[in-house]
Chain length 348, copies 2
DNA sequence: CTGTTAGCGCATTCAC
DNA sequence: GTGAATGCGCTAACAG
């Protein structure tokens, strides 16, 4: 028998956890008085409250939220449905949501659909059967995704990947703004011959960031050196693309990258070709993936997409929707933030 | 009013979700018959079962697990308490646990204590109040951690970081075995002048892996070139350590690294010094952090610590303990796996 | 101020 | 085969 069970048995005469009834009996009051005393509702004589609290402490009583949930019709839980946990984007969002909720006594059910629609449906069913108060759907790309529809009995907020349905509430990173920030930064460093190497054009993130870069250059009356170079999100591509770029446009003095991984590859090839960073060529990444940026040579300037804040925003939006009984439609954008390191401004 | 509420109202005459009572009424049977019909318990006439199922479908009835939990005294939920979500170790473990449980209709509450003991206590309280059936505690280092004690009313399994208390049930990576695997591999490649560069000696993982490396060399009648080099878990240290190593022991023909990050730094310095990899020096990492290993030049051989499997083991252990009513004491080790890539065996 | 009563939604006896 | 009654643990009216 587990130790606690023994304790409970010794104290209550049974081997189950103490209930409010046990507390009431021990304190010599009724159930409802005990309830009021512990929850601070209604008028209870200070002396009784004290007695009840004492009894509760002695029995190790903790209120059964399952029972309370059944009664109140709200559970104080939400589901977080992700399509791939492996992706590193989900985690900061999850952390943000966790801490926005954490304060408010909400607990999160985590479900990973592994990118499979069937499994997603299955999880939604399970969450609804558990009577979660709301659901956050986190995608792994910023491309709009299918809506869960409006037939669900609880509010839904879409994070990272916005819903295709504009009447849903979505929160997604401001990639276009982030691209603009990156380009404006290298412009402000006096660079004028700027190239852009980025990832898979099937990702909205790649396209949006590239657009932001173009916007910034256009505002400065400039154009990109060559065309934006789209391919895959890897260091390898960063290396290869840079070699090609130096061949065709040796005059380049800054490279804005679509991701930190690509930027790492870019740095490698620049070194191999004897270009000094940032003196000859400035490099800036995107994502602020610390494991990559902090250890680069030199440390990589980048755009922090603010995912944790995005998670907080999602949690707050969902919370508001739960209170209000419905979500407000529309897409919000989580702002990115420029992080300057040695790859754009020389350290000394 | 949300769409679903409207639906429910149209169908049941109220704006709440359909209950078993609604189904029973609509099917013209009693509550208990409806229950039996839907759960396949007891003897129910095929025709009435059909009628009940039909009614349930029409009303969009889904059984309320909160009510069932209250009744059965089990919730089918478990808590996963982690001390830092940022660390990349937690995620695969979480995934493993999710999928081991997923099949069995168990849902996971995720809690991040951010490495703070107060917050940890707070989360434990919350989880117990929600009447989880068990808890998995995931640490971010493999150093033994404080036990939650045996006074909890539910079983606890410790994953990654084992409990200090040997009567708890813990599952942790076999780092010593992993170190051995790594060293045996480079030995099998014909290397004999082997060095070890690794991370923070305050981490049991560093010490255990180093021990495994020594074990393997000793079995082969060899000794490490120089002493194991301990410092921090960064690429920067990998680079610096390698430079020092090549200075003091230019004859080195293999470097076993304590992590993939360190290995990446090692590769960089070897290149800078003109050593060919793997012809002149073989390099092997640890962790199989794909973002780092696959994009290294050449791709990095490494040890996959099997964290997802560790997560599954933890989930199964917890599940067993829940059924049995108590955990079996002891520490199990999740085995690592050698992953061979181009940094130890030349590709062609 | 305190106690009695009535459910929340469901599964399970036990009679019929 | 089916249904009425009971209770899981709790809170919220109400009555005393």
């Amino acid at each position: 028998m587990r130790a606690e069970a023994a304790v409970a048995e010794a104290k209550t005469g049974t081997n189950r956890a103490a209930t409010l009834g046990d507390v009431a009996r021990r304190a010599g009051v009724s159930l409802s008085t005990a309830s009021k005393a512990l929850n601070g509702r209604g008028e209870v004589a200070p002396s009784t409250r004290e007695r009840v609290e004492h009894a509760a402490r002695e029995l190790g009583f903790t209120t059964n939220l399952v029972a309370r949930s059944l009664l109140e019709g709200k559970t104080g839980t939400v589901g977080l449905l992700t399509s791939d946990l492996e992706g590193r984007f989900v985690i900061p969002i999850l952390m943000g949501a966790e801490d926005a909720f954490g304060a408010g006594q909400v607990n999160i059910f985590l479900c990973d659909a592994r990118g499979d629609a069937i499994r997603e449906q299955h999880h939604i069913r399970a969450l609804l059967n558990r009577r979660v108060d709301g659901i956050i759907v986190v995608g792994h790309k910023t491309n709009p995704r299918a809506s869960l529809g409006h037939r669900l009995p609880v509010p839904v907020v879409y994070a990272y990947a916005p819903s295709e349905d504009p009447t849903d509430h979505s929160i997604t990173p401001d990639n276009r703004g982030g691209g603009r920030l990156a380009a404006e930064h290298v412009l402000s460093c006096g660079r004028t011959r700027i190239a852009h190497i980025t990832g898979d054009p099937a990702y909205a993130a790649a396209v949006d960031r590239a657009q932001g870069v173009s916007d910034a250059l256009a505002s400065a009356g400039l154009k990109l050196v060559g065309e934006p170079m789209f391919s895959v999100w890897t260091e390898q591509w960063g290396r290869d693309a840079t070699a090609a770029l130096l061949d065709s446009h040796p005059e380049v003095d800054a490279i804005v990258c679509g991701s930190d991984q690509i930027a790492r590859g870019v740095l490698d090839t620049l070194r191999d070709y004897g270009r000094r960073i940032p003196e000859d060529v400035a490099v800036i990444g995107f994502d602020d993936w610390r494991a990559l940026t902090l250890n680069a040579r030199p440390p990589l300037s980048t755009i922090d997409p603010g995912l944790q804040e995005l998670g907080r925003m999602a949690a707050r939006a969902l919370f508001g929707a739960i209170e209000a009984g419905e979500t407000s439609p529309g897409t919000s954008y989580a702002p990115g933030r420029l992080v300057i390191r040695g790859s754009t401004i020389a350290t000394r």
